[in-house]
């Protein structure tokens, strides 16, 4: 979808900002360019929509050389979202989102409908549409920036630290929201960030760039974490590579252990035998597939059946959609030292233990 072929950008009297970079970006994927500041990642991005003209090489978008196209037409066909957002302060939010449709002279009703659709998609309150950018919070402004980039439904989006200007909690929310939207829209996205965690989270593939936009490694996040291609990559990705990998794997991706289960109707001797057999020293109480809680031998003293004792609640459980990193967090903070996996409907699936996660990382 996007090909950079031996692209260089040289400013007079300086080392090349981008040195013969070649990169293929497939349709519908998010490729994140990540690297230290001054590595040429933003320059690379801006050459794709010709905000910066390459010194040599060629850039193809959808098979067409961008250098042979009218830059204004080219840019109207590519979504562009930047960290500082650059909303037009004298236009309402509605007018801001409609920027490119207006430049393309869409019919008014079409533009209106499109803005409403995008506001819904990005969960921008309808009442905000008639406000000015100065009246919005940082998080709202960044969502408007993304909506504006998507407005004319461009197949290609260029995003330069699009969530960089908000605090970490809001950033995470915006990232999740954008990934959700992307699952539907399947845009081809070139995304620049200096934040490795953001790259790992957002990318289908990550290009780790060294000074001069030299590609140190271009691969899926999982591969970059498990097999860093160079010392540069290793040090850039930093500590906690294992934890970062855990955050990429979903509970649904691995097999869970069955774990010790008892039913409320079981009598105490059966329950104690189950705890003994499994070696856990406690058991989940499951009634017709639903997880009620847990019991240990102390609870059952003097009882006839499990059901006589109200099961103790798990302080936290994980679902198939949770990452293994979340599962690990649950394991180390729970009294039982396991993460109990339930479905979204609260049905029991099994347990994850520390040993299981360790095996998963080594595999």
């Amino acid at each position: 979808m996007i090909s950079l072929r031996d692209v260089s950008k040289v400013y007079d009297g300086a080392a090349p900002a981008v040195d013969e970079l070649s990169l293929e970006i497939d349709e519908g994927e998010i490729v994140v360019l990540v690297g230290p500041s001054g590595c040429g990642k933003t320059t690379t991005l801006k050459m794709i929509n010709r905000l910066i003209e390459p010194t040599s090489g060629e850039i193809l978008v959808n098979g067409r050389n961008v250098l042979e196209q009218d830059p204004v037409e080219l840019r109207r066909g590519i979504g562009y979202v930047i960290q500082s957002i650059g909303l037009l302060p004298h236009r309402t939010i509605r007018q801001n989102i409609a920027t490119v449709p207006d430049l393309l002279r869409w019919e008014r009703p079409r533009t209106r409908a499109r803005v409403d659709e995008l506001a819904e998609m990005l969960r921008l309150d309808h009442g905000l549409l008639d406000r000015y950018p100065g009246e919005l919070s940082g998080g709202q402004r960044q969502r408007v920036g993304v909506a504006r980039g998507l407005a004319a439904d461009p197949p290609v989006m260029l995003m330069d630290e699009p969530f960089g200007a908000v605090d970490p909690i809001i950033r995470e929310r915006l990232q999740d929201q954008f990934l959700e939207i992307q699952r539907e829209l399947k845009k081809t996205i070139v995304f620049v960030t200096h934040d490795v965690d953001e790259a790992i989270k957002m990318a289908d593939r990550i290009a780790i760039l060294n000074i001069g936009a030299v590609v140190e490694q271009y691969d899926a996040p999982e591969a970059i974490l498990s097999e860093p291609a160079s010392d540069f990559v290793k040090s850039f990705v930093g500590l906690e590579r294992g934890l970062k990998r855990l955050s990429l794997i979903k509970v649904a991706d691995i097999e869970v252990e069955e774990g010790p289960i008892v039913a409320p109707t079981d009598d105490v001797s059966t329950a104690l035998a189950e705890m003994e057999r499994s070696g856990f020293g406690w058991a989940s109480v499951v009634e017709e597939g639903r997880l009620l809680g847990w019991v240990d031998p102390g609870c059952l003293e003097g009882m006839a059946s499990v059901g006589q004792y109200p099961p103790r609640r798990f302080s936290a459980t994980v679902t198939d959609g949770s990452s293994l990193r979340e599962a690990l967090d649950t394991i180390v903070t729970s009294r039982t030292n396991v993460a109990v996996v339930v479905t979204n409907g609260g049905r029991y699936r099994g347990v994850l233990t520390l040993e299981k996660l360790t095996r998963e990382l080594i595999a």
Binding site: V72, R76, G77, Y80, I82, L88, P133, G134
Partner: protein, 224 residues
């Protein structure tokens, strides 16, 4: 002294038409000067903004014009253009240029770079960028310049009475000043100041009206 009173309302009443005529003349001379000044300043300011190297010479030229004392300028021009409105306007217009050009350029330069980058990145042409984004955003600065230029010009118009123009200035220099010298001066100065204040307020209100975003921005910030 013959015991004439300082103030004579009768006289003011009888000469109401004259006073009104002079006030209208005063406004007209001001209006012409500011409009012509703006018409000259605007392209020069845009040029100086787009080609940074041109700003210093333009600023130097208009700055020099600004420093010429008005009396000297009129004395210099009179042999060529006579005691005419043209002479008056050449002077008045010259004095608006520095103020207007400097304010327009300042306003254009104050447009946030990220706004410009985003706009170009989304496919604005240079012309669209200027007319739809840079100029509207520069409006508060432009209007600020217009206000200073207008108030300055209202004051200067008085001086053009010396070359037979002058609006309210003519009241002060006119024949009746021998009759009521204090009254003529007070009336001329008072009305001229009143005009300046009124026009200034009008321009200020006009600016608030055409730039609603600068009015509402910052009034309230809504939480995410």
């Amino acid at each position: 002294m013959t015991g004439r009173p300082f103030w004579d309302w009768d006289w003011v009443g009888r000469n109401g038409d004259l006073i009104l005529d002079q006030a209208v003349q005063h406004l007209w001379l001001t209006f012409l000067a500011v409009v012509i000044g703006l018409a000259i300043s605007f392209p020069l300011a845009v040029l100086a903004y787009r080609r940074r190297r041109l700003y210093p010479p333009i600023a130097w030229l208009t700055g020099t014009l600004y420093t010429i004392p008005s009396l000297a300028l009129f004395a210099f021009l009179t042999p060529f253009t006579g005691l005419s409105t043209l002479t008056a306007e050449i002077g008045l217009v010259s004095y608006t240029l520095l103020i207007l050009i400097r304010n327009i350029v300042t306003g254009l330069r104050a447009v946030p770079p990220e706004v410009r980058e985003a706009a170009v990145g989304m496919g604005y042409t240079d012309r669209q960028l200027l007319w739809r984004i840079e100029l509207p955003l520069a409006l508060p600065a432009v209007v600020a310049g217009l206000r200073i230029a207008t108030v300055t010009t209202i004051g200067l118009v008085t001086v053009t009475a010396l070359i037979g123009q002058g609006g309210l200035g003519a009241l002060m220099l006119g024949g009746f000043r021998r009759l009521y010298p204090e009254l003529a001066v007070v009336l001329g100065v008072g009305l001229s100041v009143a005009l300046a204040v009124a026009i200034d307020l009008l321009l200020f209100a006009g600016q608030r009206w055409i730039t609603p975003w600068s009015r509402r921005a910052g009034d309230r910030v809504v939480a995410t």
